[in-house]
Amino acid sequence: MPDALQVLNNGVPISWYLMLSAVLFVLGVAGFLFRRNIITVFMCIELMLNAVNLSFVAFANAHKQVSGQIFVFFVMVVAAAEAAVGLAIILTVFKNRATLNIDEIDSLKN
């Protein structure tokens, strides 16, 4: 662990950004596993993608290269496409089954 004086002189360690990213990712996993509303589960996936983006940008800063930010750009494009298709799927599921609870959407079971 870098000591306090070092942090005040040099700025924030990159590893702290990575740990923040890890905390956000684990919170996203927790929501994904514990929540029962399909829309909230979907939002937790977005939270996980954001956490990973943060570590990409932190690595781009650490290596002084722009490639990490390009990856973030591509992740954002994929996330936007995923949100459009995923929400359309949620709409269709709700139209057919009239529920948002993931425990009740089990037609692939057995």
Partner: protein
């Protein structure tokens, strides 16, 4: 000053993320997620990623979250009802996640403790110009492929949203 802004916006991000997970109403979760995204955008700015920070605000906090809130309002999604879980999930869920977080943090501390320091202004490659040059020279083919991906996503959304499906 760097440390102050990092701690402030990291705290806002973590508290909003906790709020996303524990709120019972989807609208409250969605608004907390906007808070997470906005504070992450500030952290991007501090890391020298100006373009990515703006795209984060415009695309994520703007377009994607509006889509979410639109669907929540369209489906009239109410508060989630409490449901009994299995004993294993109740007992082991949180401890296993904390162990997961602990192992990730241990690994990060071991491998990246000397990864350097973030000081505001020590990396300025993330301007719109820098991103544009990299995107249209080195990463031109992936950039073109994403346009095909978006076309497919639009077609998929239209097919799924048809009446007779």
């Amino acid at each position: 000053m760097d440390l102050f802004f990092f701690v402030l916006f990291a705290a806002i991000a973590v508290l909003s993320a906790i709020s996303v997970v524990v709120q019972r109403h989807p609208i409250a979760s969605a608004l907390s997620l906007v808070g997470v995204m906005a504070s992450i955008a500030i952290l991007y700015l501090a890391l020298g990623a100006e373009f990515v920070a703006m795209v984060q605000i415009i695309v994520y906090a703007g377009a994607v979250m509006v889509l979410f809130i639109f669907v929540i309002m369209l489906l009239n999604a109410g508060a989630e009802q409490r449901r009994g879980r299995s004993l294993t999930a109740q007992l082991l869920g949180v401890p296993v996640l904390i162990a997961f977080l602990g192992s990730i943090c241990y690994f990060l501390q071991r491998e990246f403790a000397n990864a350097g320091f973030m000081k505001f202004g020590n990396f300025t490659g993330g301007s719109a110009q820098g991103i544009g040059i990299a995107l249209f020279t080195e990463y031109l083919l992936p950039f073109e492929i994403t346009s095909v991906l978006i076309l497919i996503a639009i077609l998929g959304a239209i097919v799924l949203a048809r009446k007779e499906l």
